[in-house]
């Protein structure tokens, strides 16, 4: 009797022998026929990574990405039948590959792509009505805590990661900038990226942490609320006030 453990071990490690008791149409050992399953698993998982990390794949190039994806697949199978959750540890895996050390921003590009995927599948949220904000007294406004839509994320990177992603997918001039703070929003169905000035990112981070607006503004006096607030409203990032 062939246990699924035995089948699974041979499936995941092509160096292992094919389990005995598997045959072709006659009585010969299954041979290459077993490789159909090995191939289905390895190729389908690698392709899922390529679809989920398109900019990372472009930056690495076809051959390099395929090789790295195969290495990842070999030691990180999905932990869930929900394939859109596959690849959460891919950015860390990239960070651990010594020959990629000359591309220190690459794991961050993968982190940003993962964040966009999470935003794509995040729960829907009705944007706050602007009348609610307009109806507040200044004091109420300063003590309000913002509830953000579930898709909203703020990523802070030491490199111009959103610009590198855009360059990888759309071409254009090579990004020259420095650190970027990237806001992910999803007004309807498509995640959008906005690069924020550092002071605005500080303010937004405090608001995301649940601080009332007045408290959040204290350590970020340079932050331009009159620029950030319309931006958040325009992208459907605010859900309600508390």
């Amino acid at each position: 009797m062939i246990s699924q453990s035995e089948f699974h071990s041979a499936l995941r490690d092509a160096a292992r022998p094919i389990p005995e008791g598997l045959q072709d149409k006659g009585v010969a050992p299954a041979g290459k026929r077993f490789d159909v399953y090995r191939n289905n698993v390895a190729v389908s998982l690698s392709e899922a990574l390529r679809e989920g990390f398109p900019a990372t794949a472009r930056l690495l190039g076809e051959a390099n990405f395929t090789q790295i994806a195969r290495q990842f697949v070999a030691c990180h199978a999905p932990r869930s039948p929900l394939m859109y959750l596959y690849g959460d540890s891919f950015p860390e895996f990239l960070a651990g590959i010594a020959p990629l050390a000359h591309l220190p921003w690459l794991p961050d590009v993968a982190r940003l792509e993962w964040g966009m995927r999470c935003a794509y599948h995040a729960a829907d949220a009705t944007p706050i009505a602007t009348e609610i904000l307009q109806s507040l007294t200044p004091e109420e406004f300063m003590t309000a805590r913002f509830q953000f839509a579930p898709a909203v994320q703020l990523h802070r990177y030491d490199y111009p990661v959103a610009s590198i992603r855009a360059y990888a997918l759309n071409g254009g001039a090579q990004p020259q900038g420095a650190a970027e703070a990237v806001l992910i929003t999803r007004a309807e169905f498509d995640p959008a990226l906005t690069v924020l000035p550092p002071a605005q990112a500080d303010l937004l981070q405090a608001l995301l942490n649940g601080q009332p607006l007045g408290d959040a503004l204290e350590p970020a006096p340079d932050a331009d609320l009159s620029a950030l607030l319309p931006l958040l409203l325009q992208h459907g990032a605010l859900h309600s006030l508390q």
């Binding site: 699924q4 499936l11 072709d24 794509y120 599948h121 829907d124």
Partner: protein, 281 residues
């Protein structure tokens, strides 16, 4: 919502691909129903669920699971079963189906439909799992025959008899994948019509059609791969006519999951299925 309380119509359907969304709503052509892969609609929100909500108002929907691992040695994943129940409770689809296969081992999901031997022990385990699924979902499910590339020497049942036993013991229906029958028959060296003759055709609630690729094994013998990446092959259409004579009219699905074509090409395949339904061989 479209009234999903009835069974799927005995008409042509296609596997839904998001890139066809707008065209489906504008020009459904011969397509009367849609099948979705359950696992692609288990997120918290966003476009996939919004599309599905709209489509379900116009079309009968079949929810087709690919991740339950009904043939697995492990216990069913209860979290996943709960997600399926959540989806079916919300959507109230016209049909739910899964596969005679396993795809999870331990903590690993392998994203493929893996084969199992047909023995009294595996029969008993699969029946227990199907009982559990039907109890949890509160509905009958359909079970699909796999594409096989090899055989287990320990098997003591032929596949049609194995499926007949499952259907009889659990009360589940069957999803007859005619392309899978053709692929398995070619790969394992039997006559696909003999398979259909032995198959419990009175239990069929849906038929699948899809394209396959041609390869060869170590001995040079033909080895067909169930790729869902091209048109349905002519001998598979002929086998469909043969099967329909025994099953009577059925919901017929065109599966095209890889190298997905434009909508008009998919509609042409659906038209051919519709024609097969109207002109019994």
């Amino acid at each position: 919502m479209f009234d999903q309380s009835n069974h799927l119509p005995a008409a042509a359907g296609v596997g839904f691909k998001p890139q066809h969304y707008t065209e489906i709503l504008e020009t459904a052509g011969p397509v009367r129903w849609l099948e979705i892969h359950a696992e692609n609609y288990m997120g918290d929100g966003g476009r996939p669920l919004a599309m599905l909500r709209h489509l379900a108002q116009r079309f009968a929907i079949s929810v087709h699971g690919v991740g339950l691992s009904i043939g697995g040695e492990d216990a069913l994943n209860l979290d996943h079963l709960a997600r399926l129940k959540h989806l079916c409770d919300w959507l109230q689809p016209a049909s739910f189906s899964e596969h005679l296969a396993w795809s999870t081992h331990g903590a690993e999901f392998l994203n493929d439909l893996l084969p199992l031997p047909y023995t009294p022990a595996t029969l008993s385990r699969i029946c227990d799992h199907i009982d559990q699924v039907q109890d949890a979902l509160g509905r009958q499910m359909l079970l699909e025959n796999p594409s096989s590339y090899l055989r287990f020497t320990e098997s003591t049942y032929e596949e049609p008899e194995f499926l007949a036993q499952i259907a009889q013991r659990t009360g589940c229906g069957l999803l007859l994948d005619v392309n899978n029958v053709f692929v398995s028959a070619t790969n394992l060296g039997y006559d696909p019509r003999t398979y259909i003759d032995a198959y419990p055709t009175d239990k069929v609630g849906e038929i699948h059609l899809g394209g396959h690729d041609e390869d060869a094994d170590d001995t040079g013998a033909p080895l067909l791969i169930d790729s869902h990446g091209r048109k349905v092959a002519d001998p598979v259409w002929a086998l469909l006519d043969y099967a329909l004579c025994q099953t009577g009219p059925q919901p017929l699905l065109i599966e095209w999951d890889n190298d997905v074509p434009d909508w008009s090409t998919l509609c042409a395949e659906a038209s051919r299925a519709e024609t097969a339904l109207r002109v019994p061989a």
